[in-house]
Symmetry: C2
């Protein structure tokens, strides 16, 4: 079904994104990123130059100032994912949805001035480190801690699974600054590349997203100056995370819909082109039934996502709404991509084909940003009024 949420500005922006994709995304580029295990900085700088990242950075700090209109980010994801460059879309997402917002919404004036202009250009790349090796879903179970000392903090501990963690210049890091696990026992600190005792350790070898780094980080007596405490206030870290998680979850929902749409398009094209037994693969009844399922599911995803995008714009997207969107859209994405792989036959298993990449990328959508079990738990509790 036709979507109706875009206005002229969004479509003009889409042309710009398409132009960027034409110039910077190719099979060769994708293979280069995969081999390196990360997006090269030149591409990120080009994205900054073209205005594809830093969308929510206010204009006074050199950004596009599209704070509450997530439709522009949606356009970026649609086009980049459709080009087969899931890893690039991921890297853009970390910068715009997981790093920049903490500075835009919660940074002090000095923090904004120091970081945002270079985050809009891609000179400074960010990451968000919440997960400890021993605690992911249970965020308040982390052990990474910062002890107050004169003029700052001494940080010790480790983080794992940090997207863009080895390439980031600045990492918004969730740490314990108090005792126990009360919500006010946590803070967010900006940890900078090159700080003594900060190791942006080994890249993890993943099922998918081969061109996007995911790293272990470790902190050994790292001195973090007071000016690197997000918002300048201690004990706000957990609440600050909670404030941004809906955006993070919406963004995963959008990525899921974009990937389902891309998979549908690739699969329609493939099955109309490939032949067996003297017919197009598309002509077998099973194929048509599966394509019909894929198409209806994708339409439903967009209808839901589009409504969520408008709710976000009107500041009415609740935490539970975002959680619902996240788990529901990523489960549907998974079904659609699985059918897409299957209809490609053997070629669906070969990484050269965009469907194979998108499929292996998709598997983590059900896990990160809060697992789909945690999402259901959150939504289910609200529904029944548990505790």
């Amino acid at each position: 079904m036709e979507r109706d949420i875009y206005e002229e500005d969004h479509e003009a922006f889409r042309d710009l994104v398409k132009d960027f994709v034409k110039r910077h995304v190719s099979n060769e580029a994708i293979e280069r990123w995969d081999a390196a295990g990360e997006i090269d900085r030149a591409t990120m700088l080009a994205a900054g130059e073209a205005g594809l990242i830093g969308l929510s950075v206010p204009e006074e700090f050199g950004g596009a100032g599209m704070l509450q209109d997530y439709r522009f980010r949606t356009v970026v994801m649609e086009e980049v994912i459709a080009s087969g460059a899931g890893s690039l879309a991921g890297a853009f997402g970390i910068q715009d949805d997981l790093a920049v917002p903490y500075l835009v919404h919660m940074g002090t004036q000095e923090q904004k001035e120091k970081w945002l202009p270079r985050m809009a250009t891609g000179e400074v790349l960010g990451a968000l480190a919440m997960t400890d090796p021993g605690a992911g879903s249970d965020l308040r179970g982390i052990k990474t801690n910062a002890k107050k000392v004169d003029g700052g903090y001494i940080l010790n501990g480790a983080k794992t699974f940090i997207s863009s963690g080895s390439t980031a210049d600045v990492v918004v890091t969730f740490v314990k600054t108090g005792e126990g696990n009360r919500p006010d026992a946590f803070s967010l600190l900006l940890v900078e590349k090159g700080m003594e005792g900060f190791d942006q350790g080994k890249k993890l070898s993943k099922m998918g997203f081969h061109g996007w780094d995911t790293a272990e980080l470790s902190f050994t007596d790292v001195f973090i100056p007071d000016e690197n405490l997000i918002s300048g206030k201690e004990g706000q870290g957990f609440i600050q995370l909670m404030l941004n998680l809906p955006l993070e979850r919406l963004s995963i929902g959008v990525a899921a819909a974009a990937a389902a749409q891309a998979a549908l398009d690739w699969t329609v094209a493939y099955t109309k082109d490939r032949e067996a037994f003297g017919e197009r693969i598309a002509d077998f009844q099973n194929t048509r039934f599966r394509l019909a399922d894929m198409a209806a599911t994708t339409d439903a995803m967009w209808a839901y996502i589009d409504r969520a995008l408008l709710a976000y714009k009107n500041s009415t997207l609740s935490a539970e709404d975002a959680a619902k969107v996240k788990f529901w859209a990523t489960e549907r994405e998974w079904e659609v991509l699985d059918m897409g792989v299957q209809l490609h036959g053997g070629y669906g298993y070969i990484m050269e084909y965009p469907i194979a990449r998108a499929f292996t990328d998709a598997r983590v959508h059900r896990i990160y940003g809060g697992t789909n079990e945690i999402m259901r738990d959150l939504v289910g509790r609200q529904i029944v009024g548990k505790r």
Copy 2:
């Protein structure tokens, strides 16, 4: 539920396999195979020495002579897959289920003498090349062809997706030797490594099975001597494939059950060990429900597979039975492994974890050996008596 199909001999053989696994499989070995994109020959020779391959090679040719008792092969698969070495299990499977049987069942006396003794030791590794780039499901749509000349054939064409294709010393190759696509227009030829014009081309980059090579092969005016025509009779190739496909499909069903069992075991251990919110992951009700699903599904798989193994032994496993087992078991495997990945949280996405490897391996089970659509088509036709 307890299985009851094994006799003393099988359990004694299991000890031998366990011992081999202990000596030759380790994380280091698995990473070495993954990095190389193939199993090293030394390991295959050790497997030959230990009696883990060539199980169906008759004793007179140096094998174990366990022709119709697939339970021994099942023991190999269970133990190797449980060790996390899916690629090694795959390489064993090609040798024993896809290459050796064509010689044992259909080879001439000379062919048996020439090849089987060295196939039992691992000195000669085999592969089976049916799929053309343009025709997989539709086997009779291949274009690879062999023209009769004095003393042999001139072979031209290309194959793709050939498991063990770059490491194989001898490739059982499905070719056109006649006009049109009548069943008698095809033959099986033994193509040998190093033959002029035979290129065991590039290894394909796959979603999973990283330690097991899958290659494109190309043939440019390759001269194949008459003695390399399987069974010495032209025009029998299609029927010969049909005769062995049930074994190939049973073997995929067995691999699927072994992987489901392994995934269940890994996941039970993991969720009992890992904690969140002050509880074991295993203690959340959702986890227990999923583990119950996984366990019941795995039990059902074994019950079905075990019945099929005995039917195979009694020569009563029909082509449709094997097709049913193949598609049903691999669909169930996929469900079980997907739950296993999910219950591992972020770690389920990291290739270091056996569940991540087994999951990416499993995806192709629904595609190769005849896609699950082709299996359903075959079974469905029989049920309704179509044509």
